[in-house]
Point group: D2
Chain length 469, copies 4
């Protein structure tokens, strides 16, 4: 089960202050990380409270449900949307009762050796009610805990067994634990609720919305413990000489107003545009983004290239996840309902069209078709993310390698397929420069096929259908 | 978790015939055994299909969901309704994936040593996602199976460990297993689908509705195996010199058109009335039942006593589980909305009012009030079930001993409290005679406090709120 | 639009007491008169409040909605269920704003000259948003009111124009009006809320549930005015030498615990059974009803014939309006899911089976099949309602004449078609005697084809699909 | 009832082609014009089909409902959202049956003399089921039609009586009529479905989405008739020497990719920014829009002023109409959840913040607070719409004059209240220039208090609560 998710954990010092509301607002701000299901689990002295459901944060929780989620500590989760594989059983946080209490886990990432671990657990008597990696992690932690270890020791032991990416929030009877894999693949940050408590979350936007001050990253290989008195304890369990921060979070996935690993996402996206723009000798009338994700890069490109920035496509804010499409007309309509060209801005223009990334190429092809249909003279595609050639196995939902347009085509072949007049990608080197990290600290596996973890050694689960919104 | 439930399992020889529809119809006929949640799990060669939900059978399943529940074999479950303790996690059948496949279980009954077993399992590393006994049984079976035993051997081993009542339907990759506890406390029957397959179910009414012929009881201590080719194999694992068939199934719980342990429920209820009527020297104008459950007994009483049978209370068929009651007027209205006296039949009459049983006495009190308010001259209460003095721990949902009116009151005190002009109960001896079994084969624990199992030895789970409809 | 409905109106003297709750409880008790849609409209000094919806009373109203239906006076309505013709636009009460205020109407009955009136209204400029007769009545009343008449005068004028059956509750800015057609075809009664106000309703059961005392019938041709101070004013507008009380209300439609036109329904149904039983020379082991409606008649038959009364069919209380039926198995299952024979009571028996009425004969045929399948030796059908030969046009939902089995078949032919060993109907004369009214005061149009109103003169609306539950 | 709405009408030549799907897609593209309720009415030879509901287009219609909306011609409607006044009775299209058939109307606009017309209609016997102007129009048309006029003549006659703004789509048994008020206040355009039929709609974006070619505006005072064979007939009923196109459609309400009265909205918004930017001598580091509506103007401003364009606020795309806010924290959170400043882009910056318009000033105040909280050195507010001083009575939903910040404050007072370092509005003259029309053809009533219609003469309906999203 591939997980593209967002997590949050909140603890207030004041016993009477309910964590549920702050978790709810944070989840609203992390909704872009997963729209399939959501859940909140809170803990009071005398028990755990849980509410989960299939749908958006706004659809699942009500005043009544937030109010009944009692307790000053809790965790929350949003999970991404796929066809078919979605089940209420896989909704998180995952809650289990064990020998000495209750444990709830929310997970963002993908465990590469999940099948091995699951087989081993099954072989020693464990049974599974979901298909998620999270249940495996719960089993492993409880097994260690049973040996007499405390939770920090137990989690530390499990971290040695887990191969893959994971940012975890764990709620026990006595603490919240925020855990990040040794390579730091998926993000996780700590915030201070103005002295009234702490929050951990996938992105800094979740801190902003509840008025929390950003403290720092949860470090790769760290277990951050927030006990019942809201005291912080850091346990740096594993220390590797390098990191593997996911470059795709910067390029597309994270919100532009987030700061990841102390680097503002917005700045990276601007620089991506600038770096392409600086070296681009194309003659064009305007540069225009595919909204919304490519806007900062297109603005950066414009400044570097001196080609004026213009909007040419308007997104319909009301057409969301689903609408009705009769088979025969579906293909074109799906894009048209979401994006409409501004005819007056397009007609007769040579346009540099900026997109954050190209995955299968079908959407690019249709958007270029829309612009040409509206009278564009030329459409020159510029792409912020270097060619994606290899499916991610560390927590980003992607189609199979066969479906990735860059996997078996040259840039020229791609240009032809999408119908652009020219096509340029940012180079991997420039991307790394735009992010501003050392090469060795970034995971660029989907671009290079070289993953920070030797994925080939592990049995791969059948991955779910890819969906890009 | 106390379970008052109904189970069904269906297997068709024809691979292409879907079991889901027959399970659905059977569950409709077992709806009286549980209205909180329901579920169906089916199995095809290549996988398991599951649909569960909180609500009535009619509310949860649709044409689409039944159609997508593919496969020629499957099991179904209805679960009873309580306030608060109801959770989707506890809905059954419970489905788990284990080392060599998938296992689904539906359970009717109550495991007395559940807490001991759960503690032991937790102590050896098991984790729990629900609060139901069923998850314990799943863990135990899989543990035995892991030791290399086949499922019959595994279930047999688990039966030695389980103390309490259980009628189980179990669906594995290769078979359906119908299992009944060694005392046969809860019912379970086998039916033949006119040569096209088999059905097992809690009551014979589930056979009637799908046109199955009743074959026999699943025997106490038996594992009945229905393999993928619809071959039957019986494994009589435990053979005890006595049974403990629940007398309350005859008195109130089972449907009157069911045949339990080869004894028609309807006949028992008639005889209950006859036995009271034969020895009753009351002078009355009419005998009348509290509909619907007391009708056969009131008819029997009438025949024996020669007091004419008349209806005096009409039940509103549309007022079901819930309606809105503002606090101040709630008490009287709740009964009035459900039962209305026929004034013309009541006025000036001396009435023998027959009820199947008295639990807390509050409903009896209000109904007698209704009849007196409508002009009844006298109301003589006759009760088919001897005084209930001790809460059931073997699968019938009852209030605490403190709330049981017969627990700490004499018959005369009870008569006064409910406002009857006289009050008579059937004796335990007559009840046993009415059922027509040997004393030693019946569980009368709730009447005598003497249970077939030494309950006092076991830690008792906190029981859920009692609700009688 | 044929209307089979229930109406209620409530006025409290106390301005602060909300009428909505009492209307809600009354509608629950009238639910058998219509299950398609329901609505409540209340009035406070400063405005009207309305809530309507498709579904059962219990499904549509919530605590919140009842609470927001403010005001000490109001009316309510339940409407019957058909396939297809059901629309929210036809849900009642029907609310309109007119020249001097607001008017809400709830209607039970059928206006025979509806099409003529509608055409005339349209021809003079009226427009219609629904297909119900009620909108016609609203138009007519307002037109009279506009001429300067007060509402009593206006309604009186309209009564002269309406041909057909109607029991109306009308809510205006200043009063509630209860109106009954000059022939009194559909029932309407007045109750006293223990001095705190008044209630009018289709049946006395609606009075019982809110603790109101029955005062009297609303008289045929009467307008009963309940003003804002809860003063009663009677206006006997039309006085005919005869009535046309619907005999089918007694036979089947009204609740058995209701008193219609001062005659208890239950008594009528008992007598119906007695009258058949007295003259029946059949040799049988038992007499048994098709539950629930035929129970009182079967009891009466038993007493008269000395044939013992026994239950043989158990009704599933949970199978209500809808369930899923795959085409191929539908026919038999539909009956089986609702009624199950008690095999032990049926086998080898000669049974007199009592039903309230036979409409199309298909259900009778299937039930007889069920009993014979369960081993009945003979099934002798006895029917409380004389042969129904002509579709009702005055407010009872019936199939077309072609579908009525008695329309074109002799009793012997019907007996053969339904598979009974013998078949006897109550005679029309005996039915009239059982009801206990003079012949000329009863409408027996569906039995004789002779209606109290010359229906043939009027254009008939296309009638909706008939559904008997 | 004030209506802020969108309308569409579609007719296909091919009898078998369903209009419902194209209407649905068009409504999706017009969703910004109304989110409260929506409806589609279609017409086939033998009847009308209707589906309406409270909610978004995407929430109300399903495959099944679109499929059951049969017929090659139909109209659709979206209606805006207010608290309280929303009722299903007011959902459109409004459908009525009249003397010679059926009529359905969808309306965008506001009838100023509605109360007079309604009173007159009521006085002559009309009754009303809704509180919408549309029902008045239906009555008026039918009255004329009854006099023997055809529908064009009837509508023409009604247009003489209506005072106010209206763009109508009318569906009759034989045609679709698109009607626009003589001043052309609300937009309405005609499109050609590639020779297969015609579409009329509020904005050109509705044409784009179904692949229709823009033909022309429906002219002020024109009735455009599309008969059953898809023949077009134009009837220019009223010809005034001036128009009163709503300037607020250009400034805020219409979609930026629409072309209104042959003027592209996007261009107008760019020029608005340019005109302010040209004359602005402020020293600032960046100019930034409040997304999404102010983006084109901010871009225009940047080009004219040479101040660099930057994004500083990110909108949460998942926080839509409703979310849960506990009272105490509500005020700040409401804005924070929707807009988040990008700290790195804001800190230490002098920012020109561009908004499309200021209505009550509260949102501006909170956004400026957010930016200053994120470290902005200065925030200079620039506003595309001149000060709004007088509530619109011609179809735009606005708060009362008392709530309009510009109604009783100088620009300096407003600057202080919203906490800006400077505040500049576009002048009315520049706005007119930016739109590019002659002064006399624009309605600027909300800016000047001088309406194209003498509103003071008419009784004003109580207006619903204003809500700006």
């Amino acid at each position: 089960m591939k997980d593209k998710c967002g997590v949050v954990g909140v603890c207030f010092k004041d016993n009477l202050k309910k964590a549920s509301y702050s978790i709810y607002y944070s989840l609203l701000s992390l909704q872009h990380r997963g729209q399939e299901s959501t859940g909140i689990v809170t803990r009071k002295k005398n028990g755990f409270f849980s509410e989960k459901g299939m749908g958006l944060v706004n659809e699942i929780f009500t005043f009544d449900s937030l109010d009944s989620l009692d307790g000053n500590a809790g965790i929350g989760h949003v999970r991404y949307s796929t066809m078919g594989a979605s089940q209420i059983e896989n909704a998180q946080p995952f809650v289990v009762r064990h020998s000495s209490g209750t444990l709830a886990i929310g997970h963002n990432g993908n465990i590469v050796n999940a099948e091995e671990l699951r087989h081993a657990l099954k072989a020693s008597g464990s049974i599974f009610v979901s298909t998620s990696d999270t249940e495996i992690i719960a089993h492993l932690i409880i097994r260690e805990h049973l040996k007499g270890k405390d939770f920090v020791e137990s989690i530390a032991e499990v971290m040695k067994k887990l191969v893959g990416s994971y940012s975890l929030v764990i709620l026990t009877d006595n603490a919240i634990y925020a855990v990040r894999d040794p390579l730091g693949i998926r993000p996780l940050v700590l915030g201070n609720l103005e002295g009234r408590g702490y929050i951990v979350a996938s992105e800094t936007v979740a801190l902003d919305v509840v008025g929390a001050k950003y403290v720092r990253n949860v470090k790769p290989g760290e277990i951050l413990e927030i006990d019942n008195y809201c005291s912080l304890n850091s346990h740096r369990v594993i220390r590797l000489p390098k990191k593997a921060y996911c470059m795709f979070e910067y390029v597309y996935f994270a919100r532009p107003d987030s700061v990841l690993n102390d680097i503002p996402v917005y700045k990276v996206r601007e620089r991506i545009g600038e770096f392409i723009g600086l070296n681009d000798d194309i003659e064009a009338d305007i540069v225009s983004p595919i909204p919304d994700s490519a806007i900062p890069s297109a603005l950066g490109y414009s400044r570097a290239s001196k080609i004026p920035y213009r909007e040419t496509l308007i997104r319909n804010r009301y057409v969301g996840r689903t609408f009705i499409l009769p088979e025969q007309e579906a293909r074109e309509l799906a894009v048209k309902l979401k994006l409409n060209p501004i005819a007056g801005e397009v007609k007769g223009k040579k346009i540099v069209l900026f997109d954050d990334s190209i995955v299968r190429g079908t959407t690019s092809s249709r958007i270029i078709g829309l612009l040409k249909g509206a009278g564009a003279k030329e459409v020159h595609m510029r792409v912020g993310c270097p060619p994606i050639k290899s499916r991610c196995n560390l927590g980003i939902n992607m189609p199979t390698n066969e479906e990735l347009i860059a996997n078996n085509k040259t840039v020229e072949e791609m240009r032809e397929e999408i119908g652009a007049d020219s096509l340029k990608y940012l180079s991997i080197e420039s991307l790394i420069e735009a992010i501003g990290m050392e090469d060795r600290n970034l995971c660029t596996g989907c671009l290079t096929g070289k993953y920070p973890i030797d994925i080939s050694k592990y049995e791969q689960v059948k991955l779910p259908v890819y969906m890009k919104k």
